[in-house]
Symmetry: C2
Subunit: 390 residues, 2 copies
């Protein structure tokens, strides 16, 4: 009878691999990739005997402007192309192969890093920050994709909600972090690219962060949901969405806060509300927190896209300085700004800090290496979350 | 001030595309792919000027055994490779390019179809079944990934739960469908490959199905969660898991039913419980429903992996015939079996039907074209769900 089972197992296994030749080399140690070596260097291998040139791209290579750096891989006599990276810091990394100029996914690594239509493969190096980004054996929160009514945007919209371990079976009320994505992102971005669920689970389990609800809305208010999850169907990303950074997100944000307070056991008070976001989400967090200047005690601006002079045709931006001063007068517990020293938004942040300094508005400033990257945003979230609701 | 915005927009847009040359052809109509033509034929295009040979594979091509069929694409003078399919039925389709023998994702289609480590691109042809698989503007249920304690398996385990639109704001109790995946699948499979959420949302909105809770557990009981979502880290799929089809899933299934009845507004009665699954999940559904012979009124076996003689060292399989008769005596409302006429499991199902006939155990039998495919399982779910809880 075991034979029947084994036959079925064998058939299923075969079905997964579409190519016998590939199958034959599958179990070859030589073929495992990416291989993290004991010194945290990483060996990449690709079997492409017909290729004339194979390059590898990864964020540890110096980029030229917006063009990521690449290295040439070296071919051996069997048709394997190989490259060994320098020792890397603990983090989550992505990489891509370019085979004769064409970007190709790693056929030996099922783990992908999908940033809009830009799809790479990924791996994690532990022993530091990377450990926060892993699923560990700790109590796990729940993650729900739910839809809320947005009369202000004339549609039902998808929203991602993290409730901490124990939420469902307790009667406690919880503070809420509103966590916003950047341009090109959606209600999935902090989960799939930012590892927010793992960061929260791990920090809460270690006692470093308070149990909290985390709400991840879609900041493109003309969208019902992430691409592929809405009624527009399987559209490819095209021109940017209408109503992006025009005040509509800020105007309709109260709908989200009301939805959360009406439907979850939140503590519906300023002292139990935080708002943070990256890039465009940092812009949103800045403006939402001052437009509703007595609503959030904790504000996190991660590489925020600060515009000195946003569109004045929205009432949201009409009284920038006045509402900022109001926010200052009303008081808050934390105004946290983080940016990388090579970020293209660095100067905007520098100018904004001068503005804050000039009105004596206190803030914590965190400058890191690097640019406008998820590596920085994951690290900022890991630093920010332990500071809130204390 | 709009200029500032536009500059930032432009920079973000550039950041997404890593290659100026690709960018230049992006907006070319010639370059859109896959293009669904008015007659439901589909045109595929790939820009690969350096390639010597490009093939395309899709499920509408006759396969040779387990090896999917391929066709050669034709290169034009600009470096585009093209293929036009015959007119296709309304369904969800996947496809892959093979560039000089290497499987490559379509760089112009961000929508993927990820079956274990086998990653293809996808598209949907509407006008029939395909419309059930799309997100439409209908009330949407919520989908939660949550963890439950499984003392029987000695771990906390991840489970996917669909609650229908209105669940959170009503006081009603709901019937529950337990929906099981096949070998190689996990608690994500019915969501990502089976489009179960869209099928349920659409059928409920059209009044064709009763609002119900759908529970999608992980049937590999040695796993905490899907690969990449558990504490074993970013493991590549390797040898199959222990405790697969050895009785452990069936033995510990009561934990899941108890968890649901304790934590959700279920109707905790046989008449409001259904269990269905595909392939290995059909095997599980068969055995769970007879091992607990007075628990489910609705049973769905989709291309079930029926083994005439499962492992007798588990008490679950020790009294196969006896418990089946007990299930018959206790009564049930629907025993539904579906299979494709070219499915490699066809004979097992035929033999099982003879067994059922011999004990006069009533069932509905649905034979379709095709084999052991998600195309069939999505269709079976769409047929099965309207029949239950009526």
């Amino acid at each position: 009878m075991k034979n029947t089972l084994l036959t079925i197992l064998a058939i299923f296994t075969l079905a997964v691999s579409t190519n016998k030749a590939q199958e034959a080399i599958w179990n070859n140690k030589e073929n495992s990739t990416p291989e993290i070596n004991p010194d945290n260097s990483v060996t990449f291998r690709l079997f492409a005997p017909n290729a004339k040139e194979v390059k590898l791209s990864g964020p540890w290579m110096p980029s030229v402007g917006w063009t990521p750096g690449t290295v040439n891989m070296i071919k051996d006599e069997k048709g394997f192309w190989t490259y060994k990276s320098p020792a890397l810091n603990s983090d989550l990394y992505y990489y891509s192969f370019y085979v004769d100029g064409m970007k190709c996914a790693d056929p030996k690594n099922m783990y992908q890093y999908k940033d809009g239509d830009n799809i790479s493969n990924m791996f994690i190096i532990g022993g530091g920050n990377g450990d926060f980004y892993k699923v560990n054996q700790v109590p796990h929160g729940s993650v729900t994709r739910r839809w809320y009514d947005s009369p202000g945007n004339g549609m039902s919209r998808r929203i991602s909600i993290y409730t901490p371990a124990g939420y469902e079976t307790s009667v406690e009320k919880y503070p809420v972090l509103y966590l916003l994505h950047g341009m090109g992102g959606d209600e999935e971005a902090w989960i799939s690219l930012g590892n927010a669920i793992q960061i929260l689970d791990n920090l809460i389990a270690q006692g470093k962060a308070k149990p909290m609800i985390v709400v991840m809305p879609n900041g493109n208010v003309s969208q019902e949901a992430a691409l592929g999850q809405s009624s527009i169907g399987l559209m490819q990303p095209g021109p940017r969405f209408p109503h992006t950074m025009d005040g509509k997100m800020e105007e309709t944000f109260t709908e989200i806060v009301h939805f959360m307070d009406a439907n979850y056991r939140t503590i519906p008070k300023k002292s139990s509300r935080a708002i943070a976001g990256l890039s465009m989400g940092g812009f949103h967090s800045l403006h939402i927190s001052r437009y509703y200047p007595n609503t959030f005690d904790y504000i996190g601006l991660f590489s925020p896209a600060i515009m000195p002079d946003p569109r004045m045709d929205s009432k949201v931006y009409a009284n920038f300085d006045g509402s900022l001063k109001q926010q200052l007068e009303n008081g808050y517990k934390l105004y946290w700004i983080g940016i990388g020293n090579t970020d293209f938004l660095y100067k905007g942040v520098k100018d904004y800090r001068s503005k804050l300094d000039s009105i004596k508005m206190p803030y914590i400033y965190r400058e890191t290496d690097g640019g406008h990257t998820w590596s920085n945003w994951r690290a900022y979230l890991s630093e920010f979350v332990p500071l809130i609701f204390k």
